[in-house]
């Protein structure tokens, strides 16, 4: 394959150029992230990946003989995503997109088997490096998940039940806000006590913060439809929709950052939330019929 460089046809050449552009783009992304990361360990890991990407770029360049410019847009896009949503999420999202590009490897491999081997090796190496990135917020994923889940299942259920039982927007807002507040406080105490009792390396106060914050944000998202819509049934539908959206976004985040399957977790949680909401709705209906509440 020593003459490989000279036998590239136009189609393959274009594919290799695309690869080359991908590598240089990633090089710039990692370099930018390395510079803006305060944590020394993470900054070093990022620099190493950036150097690797440069190496990949050089490998492809040997075959194409051309210099390529990075995609400025992608550099900024993934830089921003990583800054806002976290390093691990941003990088894995990017690598996830790269995997699709890897299908192109198959065809290139027919002409350049040596190149494919190099790419494969480097890919594995890169993965190992990415796994070394240590991000605080991922340590507290379980706490965030609990905070979200509790709010989603419990408050959606409570609101469904109250909507059916009371049917009065103002009283539902009143009770929903109080139930939500009590829940946030309860989640905070559970997180604190639970983390302290488990005696791990996690800080109880941080667990409390992550758990309660996730819980509070969800509570606000679930309650606000009742503030803006006069019809409680419309509000309930809006709340249910918000619950599904929160679940979708969060399941997606977890599945990318932790490389877990998305579908099952998402469907399971949707079933739990909506199932409890459905049951509570029935209980609310029964309460209305049998307990004759007047207000």
């Amino acid at each position: 394959m020593s003459t490989g460089e000279k036998t590239l046809d136009k189609d393959i050449l274009n594919k290799v150029l695309t690869m080359q552009r991908g590598e240089i783009t990633e090089h710039f992304i990692y370099r930018k992230l390395a510079r803006s990361t305060r944590d020394r360990h993470n900054s070093e890991v990022l620099q190493r990946i950036a150097r690797d990407e440069m190496g990949h770029y050089a490998t492809w360049k040997k075959y194409t003989g051309a210099a390529v410019q990075p995609s400025r847009f992608k550099v900024w896009l993934y830089y921003l995503i990583s800054k806002v949503f976290g390093l691990t999420f941003g990088i894995k999202l990017m690598e996830y997109g790269e995997e699709k590009a890897q299908k192109a490897y198959g065809e290139i491999a027919k002409s350049l088997p040596a190149a494919e081997r190099i790419a494969g090796d480097e890919d594995r190496h890169e993965r190992e490096l990415i796994a070394m990135i240590d991000e605080e917020r991922l340590h507290y994923t379980a706490d965030v998940v609990r905070g979200l889940n509790v709010a989603l299942v419990e408050l959606t259920g409570t609101l469904a039940g109250l909507t059916m039982a009371l049917g009065d927007s103002q009283i539902i807002i009143l009770t929903g806000v109080i139930a939500g507040a009590a829940m946030i406080l309860s989640v905070a105490s559970t997180e604190y006590l639970g983390t302290r009792a488990s005696g791990g390396t996690h800080s109880p106060l941080k667990a409390l913060m992550y758990g309660a914050l996730a819980n509070a944000v969800t509570v606000v998202l679930l309650l606000f439809p009742y503030f803006i819509l006069g019809n409680v049934y419309h509000a309930l539908i809006f709340t249910g929709f918000n619950a599904v959206v929160v679940l979708f976004l969060f399941s997606f985040y977890i599945s990318v950052a932790r490389e877990l399957s998305f579908r099952r977790r998402f469907l399971e949680m949707v079933a739990a939330s909506l199932g409890v909401a459905g049951l509570a709705f029935v209980i609310g209906y029964l309460a209305r019929i049998f307990l004759h509440i007047s207000h």
């Binding site: 609990r146 889940n149 509790v150 299942v153 419990e154 408050l155 959606t156 259920g157 409570t158 469904a160 039940g161 109250l162 039982a165 009371l166 103002q170 009283i171 807002i173 009143l174 009770t175 806000v177 109080i178 139930a179 507040a181 009590a182 829940m183 406080l185 309860s186 105490s189 559970t190 006590l193 399971e268 739990a272 409890v276 049951l279 509570a280 209980i283 609310g284 309460a287 307990l291 004759h292 509440i293 007047s294 207000h295």
Partner: protein
């Protein structure tokens, strides 16, 4: 010849051993689990030997305490083997001091006391009781229900000031919360891959939750005055915390005071905060129920 006081202590010790022998034998008879049955039989044998030892010195027969046998067998059967036995052994601490005194007049008494303390204790700790495996799940349900429901109910009391309405809202919130907790217990046990079965854990959590919810909201079904209901609800919350902390402290041999005060402070603190939030909401949202 032994003096009168020593003789009396001897008889008390002898009676105590015989009573415990009967208790362990009775419990062994009614226990299905064969490992636990064997353990209880072993302890019963030990108690019998101790009894015989004292008898050699006192040279008389005593009768067991029938009431005590019945009481501890009842407690062990309803509230759990470990709890019943440990509650009984706690009472025995006094007996141990008597043994120490006895050591002056009776050679070998101290050995019996030590055996009682070490060997028996080791055996008791071997008793494997299902419900204790799930105590974490039960505590989870109880704690969460106590903190959250007492909080929500206090807030609602001030905001709504309508007993029936508060009861219904509390019931709906409580049921939704119980299902939510049971679900999350199921999920966390499943990912944990521990000995605890996920479904069983979820059932324990959910049941503990629902029972606590019922206890907390029932005052609102009984009284028309919401503040009387609130007072009774707080009283019930503290009683529940007291009862289960006591159970835990006996069965798990952990300190009672600290845990009790901590849980009571959290529940009441959150209830007070929610009460205040209820007040604010009523003021600022202008809701008139």
């Amino acid at each position: 010849m032994l003096d009168r006081v020593t003789r009396q202590r001897l008889r008390a010790a002898q009676r105590n051993e015989l009573t415990e022998h009967f208790i362990y034998r009775e419990l062994a008879r009614s226990t299905q689990d064969s490992a636990n049955k064997k353990l209880l039989q072993d302890i019963a044998e030990d108690e019998k030997r101790h009894y015989d030892f004292w008898k050699q010195h006192s040279k008389e027969e005593v009768r067991p305490d029938r009431l005590k046998i019945w009481r501890y067998c009842f407690i062990a059967r309803t509230l759990g083997l470990t709890f019943g036995i440990k509650l009984m052994e706690r009472g025995e601490k006094q007996a141990e001091t008597a043994y120490a005194l006895l050591a002056e007049g009776v050679p070998g008494a101290q050995d019996i006391a030590r055996e009682e303390e070490e060997h028996e204790h080791a055996l008791i700790n071997l008793i494997d009781e299902e419900r204790l495996h799930y105590i974490g799940s039960i505590v989870l349900g109880l704690n969460d229900a106590l903190v959250e429901l007492s909080g929500a109910l206090s807030g609602l009391t001030l905001a709504l000031q309508n007993s029936r309405l508060i009861a219904v809202v509390g019931l709906i919130t409580g049921i939704a919360a119980a299902m939510s907790m049971a679900g999350s217990e199921y999920l966390s046990r499943r990912t944990e891959e521990s000995d605890q079965k996920p479904v069983k854990s979820a059932v324990y959590t959910g049941l503990a939750y629902i029972v606590t919810v019922m206890l907390l909201i029932f005052p609102y079904f009984v009284f028309d005055n919401v503040f009387h209901s609130l007072a009774l609800m707080i009283g019930i919350a503290i009683s529940v915390i007291f009862a289960f902390t006591f159970y835990m402290s006996v069965a798990r041999e952990i300190s009672f005071r600290h845990r009790f005060l901590e849980m009571a402070a959290i529940s009441l603190g959150i209830a007070a905060l929610s009460f205040f939030i209820g007040f604010l909401i009523r003021e600022f949202l202008g809701v008139e129920a």
